[in-house]
Symmetry: C2
Subunit: 225 residues, 2 copies
C-alpha cells in the first residue's frame, strides 16, 4: 500500500489542462526520458483511474507501479523478444505493401519503446479481480484510459500495452499478485521526449450513424489486420 | 453516415472544462430530462471517443445514435425486463444485508433509468469489428470512457451499460449492424436531472503499490459480488 503524504506542489500540476482538447491530443507517447517521475505524481494519475465506472461500483482495479531498476530490467528483458516477434511481420508487410509513413513511424516508435523499456522510469501495471474465475480485462480499460488522460494532463508520456501477458503468469508472480488478481495492462510512463499532438484518426462522419448503420460505408472502411 | 455541418455554437461548449476535475466528477448520470439533444453535440462527444487508443490504430468503433422515438421505445421495452431481472436479486440482498444508503441509491437510480429508458433522448450504441470472429469488446471501452468524459465536459448526463447484449442479436439487426460489427456498449444520453459530483471510491492508497503488491491489503478489500 502506498503510504506517503500527497505533495502539494504536484497537487496543482495539470489541473488547468482542458478535458476535450487534452483528450484530442493524448497521442501515445513511446519515446521517454529516463529521468525519474515522483511517486506522488504516479499516485495522482492512478487516483484519476479510480474515477472510472465499474459494474456495481466494484472498483476491481489495483495499480502496481514498478520503479525499481532491477524489476524494470526484468520486465524489459522479457517484453523485448515478445514485442519483436509481434511487430516484425507487420513491419515486413509494411515495407512490402507500402504502409503510410504515419503507420511506419508508429511501429518504429513502438519498437523504440520495446528496445528502451528498461529505461522507462515507471512501468505501471493495472490488475483486477477475476469474476467467476475469469479475468475481467474490459473492466480495467476505462480505468486505464483515465490514467492515460491524466498523464496527458500533467505532462507525462504514456502508452498502453497488454503484450506482457505473453509472460503474464511469471510477471504476476514477480509483482506479488495472487492468481485471482491478474494484471491486464502495462503502461510505461515517463517524461516525453517528443510532443503531444492530435493522433491520426478517421473522420467522425465516417463512424457516426443516426438511428441505423449504413453498410455501404464499409467499402471505404477496412480494418488493418 | 452523419452528414451535417458542425454547429459553431456547440463547438465551444465544454471546451473550458478541466480534464482532471472533470474526470473526478464524472459520476454516472441515470436521471435524464426527456428534452432533445442536438445531433451536433452527439457528434462532438462521439468524435472525442475516436481519440481513444486502439491496437495498431485500427479504430474498430462505430457509433449508432438512436434518437428516433419508436426505436428508443423498442429498445426500452426489451431492456426493462432484462434489467429488472438483473437488479432484483441485488436489491433484495441489499434490503436483507443492509447495503449502504449510497449503494441502494445507486441501484434505485439504475432502476429509474431502466423504467424511463424510452424517455432518454438518445441511446448511443458503440459497436466494433470482430477480430478472428471474436467480438473485441475491450477495444471499445477506452473509446466509451472518452465519450462519457466528453458528455461530462459539455454538461450531458450519461452512463454505461452492456446489459442490452441480453437481446443483442435482435438489437443489432434493428440497428442495421452486420454480424461482424456487434454492438458492445449502450450509453443513454440526455440533459441531467441531478448534478455532477464526485462518485464514492476507495482511497487510492488502498489500491496503489510500488514495486510489489501486498496481499495483506485484501483482508480489508472484498469485492461486492
Amino acid at each position: 500500500m502506498s503510504e506517503f503524504p500527497a505533495d502539494p506542489n504536484l497537487d496543482l500540476l495539470g489541473e488547468d489542462t482542458p478535458l476535450l482538447e487534452g483528450m484530442r491530443t493524448a497521442r501515445a507517447i513511446r519515446r521517454l526520458k529516463p529521468d525519474p517521475v515522483p511517486r506522488a505524481l504516479i499516485r495522482k494519475v492512478c487516483e484519476a483511474g479510480t474515477f472510472a465506472p465499474s459494474g456495481g461500483n466494484r472498483q476491481p482495479w489495483f495499480f502496481i507501479a514498478v520503479d525499481d531498476r532491477k524489476k524494470r530490467r526484468w520486465v524489459a528483458d522479457r517484453y523485448r523478444p515478445v514485442f519483436q516477434k509481434y511487430i516484425q511481420p507487420a513491419m515486413d508487410r509494411g515495407k512490402r505493401d507500402n504502409f503510410s509513413d504515419r503507420l511506419m513511424r508508429n511501429m518504429r516508435a513502438a519498437l523504440h519503446l520495446a528496445e528502451h523499456l528498461h529505461e522507462a522510469p515507471v512501468l505501471l501495471f493495472i490488475a483486477g479481480f477475476t469474476r467467476r474465475d475469469e479475468p475481467q480485462i474490459q473492466a480495467l480499460y476505462p480505468c486505464a484510459q483515465n490514467v492515460l488522460l491524466a498523464c496527458r494532463a500533467v505532462g507525462l508520456g504514456a502508452s498502453f500495452t497488454s503484450l506482457h501477458r505473453a509472460f503474464g503468469e511469471e510477471c504476476d508472480r514477480m509483482l506479488g499478485l495472487p492468481e485471482n488478481i491478474p494484471s491486464a495492462v502495462m503502461i510505461p510512463i515517463g517524461w516525453p521526449l517528443g510532443r503531444y499532438g492530435r493522433p491520426p484518426r478517421k473522420s467522425i462522419d465516417s463512424k457516426l450513424f443516426f438511428d441505423e448503420f449504413d453498410p455501404s460505408t464499409l467499402q471505404a472502411e477496412r480494418p488493418i489486420e
